[in-house]
Amino acid sequence: GAGVSQSPSNKVTEKGKDVELRCDPISGHTALYWYRQSLGQGLEFLIYFQGNSAPDKSGLPSDRFSAERTGGSVSTLTIQRTQQEDSAVYLCASSLGVGLSYEQYFGPGTRLTVT
């Protein structure tokens, strides 16, 4: 079956512009996570959606970052007024959700470069 997909695969943007990154989770997965991986770093948790509950935004690095998940499926991560330190690979993952499975399935990521 189809896995987690993300678009675009690569994005180059100028400093100060806004960007939107998209994630299509596996159908039926109620949990969705966003991470980012900067060069030489591990995966940094950004935000977590579980069903219809309020998202866990505790990992968002600043108020320039926001995410939404429409209809419990597709999610969009928005970065406003991008800065060079936002350059990273942004990874999305989905899972069956709380109490069902801890296993996350990752998408291929979006490589964001801010010039």
Binding site: Y33, G40, L43, F45, Y48, S95, Y102, F106, P108
Partner: protein
């Protein structure tokens, strides 16, 4: 503050020998631990996991060991194969399903 640490950024092993990847954590509330494997330009893929109530889980060539008193887990790959060359991330999760990942260890299996 890094709650999950992988102190070895890289490891090289001869084909057929054992690969041992290590991971340390600081939060005693973690109740589930996972290992992920990542090839370049791809997302991480799940490899093996272990619940905090166990101390060992085995799946084919892969075995994960958990030492709760030392807050340490390790992944053993036996025998190592060239296709195992990748970056390995350990991760720890709480019941709230928030995950914490280590910085990864790059494994190279030399033919």
């Amino acid at each position: 503050d890094q709650q999950v640490k992988q102190n070895s950024p890289s490891l090289s092993v001869q084909e057929g020998r054992i690969s041992i990847l290590n991971c340390d954590y600081t939060n005693s509330m973690f109740d589930y631990f996972l290992w992920y494997k990542k090839y370049p330009a791809e997302g991480p893929t799940f490899l093996i996991s272990i619940s905090s109530i166990k101390d060992k889980n085995e799946d084919g060539r892969f075995t994960v060991f958990l030492n709760k008193s030392a807050k340490h887990l390790s992944l053993h790959i036996v025998p190592s194969q060239p296709g195992d060359s990748a970056v390995y991330f350990c991760a720890a999760a709480t019941t709230g399903n928030q995950f914490y990942f280590g910085t990864g260890t790059s494994l190279t299996v030399i033919p």
